[in-house]
Symmetry: C2
Subunit: 184 residues, 2 copies
C-alpha cells in the first residue's frame, strides 16, 4: 500500500508539480478512505518528505554505480535528472511554501548523495582557512577534495537545472554538445 501511494504521488508530481500532491485525490484514486491513507502518511508534507528521501537515495545509487571518475559521475547525475526531472526538482529546494527542506533527515540523505562525488574529485586549491574547517566538518574528507566536490556539484546543478527546464533548447543550443565542453 505504501508503494502504491507513493506511485500515485509520483504521477501527480510529474503531471502538476508539488502543488498537485493531494492525499485526498490519492485516496480516491486507490479506492481507499482518507483515514486509511493517513495511517501510512500523516500529512502531505510527510509524503513529500518520503518522496524526497527516495529521490536522494536513488540519485546516490546512480552515482555509486558509476565508474570512479568525475566525468562518469557527472554523466550519471545528469542522466538521472533528465530521466526523473519531476523528482530532481524536489531536491535542494523547498518544493512547497512552508516546507522545510533542511530537516536533518533530508540533509543526511543529501549528504549521502554527495559522498560519492568526494571519491572522484581531485583537490581544488588553495582553500582559505575558515572554509577549510567548514569543509572538513561537513565532509570528513580533505578540504581541498571537498571543495572540488562542492564546486563540481554546484556547476552540475546549474547545468542540469537549466537543461531540464528547457533553457538551452530555447536558446537553440544542443545540451549534449554543451555538456561535453562543460568543465567541472
Amino acid at each position: 500500500m505504501r508503494q502504491e501511494v507513493k506511485g500515485a504521488a509520483l504521477r501527480q508530481l510529474s503531471e502538476g508539480g508539488p502543488a498537485a500532491l493531494s492525499l485526498n485525490a490519492i485516496a480516491k484514486e486507490l479506492g481507499v478512505s482518507g483515514p486509511a491513507l493517513y495511517r501510512y502518511f500523516a500529512s502531505r508534507d510527510a509524503l513529500l518528505t518520503e518522496l524526497i528521501l527516495d529521490a536522494y537515495a536513488d540519485l546516490a545509487l546512480a552515482l555509486e554505480g558509476a565508474p570512479p571518475t568525475l566525468a562518469d559521475h557527472a554523466a550519471a547525475y545528469r542522466a538521472w535528472a533528465l530521466a526523473e526531472p519531476h523528482r530532481y526538482r524536489l531536491l535542494f529546494s523547498a518544493p512547497l511554501p512552508g516546507y522545510d527542506p533542511h530537516d536533518q533527515s533530508l540533509v543526511a540523505a543529501a549528504h549521502r548523495a554527495m559522498t560519492s562525488l568526494l571519491t572522484v574529485t581531485e583537490p581544488h586549491s588553495p582553500v582559505p582557512g575558515p572554509l577549510a574547517a567548514q569543509l572538513s566538518t561537513w565532509s570528513g574528507a580533505e578540504p581541498a577534495v571537498a571543495l572540488h566536490a562542492v564546486t563540481a556539484w554546484s556547476r552540475l546543478h546549474g547545468f542540469v537545472t537549466l537543461e531540464i527546464e528547457g533553457n538551452y533548447a530555447s536558446m537553440g543550443l544542443d545540451p549534449d554538445e554543451l555538456f561535453r565542453t562543460f568543465d567541472l
Copy 2:
C-alpha cells in the same frame, strides 16, 4: 494601478511562491472589483509574465551597471538574486505547471540579461563545430566567447540557486567564502 497590482503580486510571491498569486486576492487587497483588475491583466499568467519580464529587465540593469569584468558581473548577478530570491526563482523555469517559460517575449528578455555577460567573458576554446554555429546564431558573438558566457551563467545559476535555497548553509558552509573560490 498597474504598479499597485504588481506590488501586491510581488508581496504574494515573496510570501507563498507563484502558487499564491491570485488576481481575486489582489482585487480584494486593493479594494477594486475583479473586472476592474482584469482590465489591467487578463489572467494570472499574464500578470506572471509581466513579473518575469520585469525581473529579467532588472537583472539586466544590475549586470549592465556592473564594472566590465566577469567577476564584477558575477557578483552583481549573485547580489541581485540574494536580494530578490522570490523574483530570481521565476527566471529560467516554469514557475507554475502549464506555464510556458519559453514564450518568445521571455526568451528575448532572458537574452538581453545574458548579453551583458558576453561583453566580459574571455574565449573558451575549443568549440566543437555544430555548437559553434548554434552559439553564433544565438549570440551574434564569437562562438568561443559565447560558450564561456553560457558556461559562466550555468555555473553561476547553480551556485546562486543552491545559495538562495539555503543548501550551503545547511552544510555548514559560508557562501561568501565559497563564492570567492568559485571559478566561472
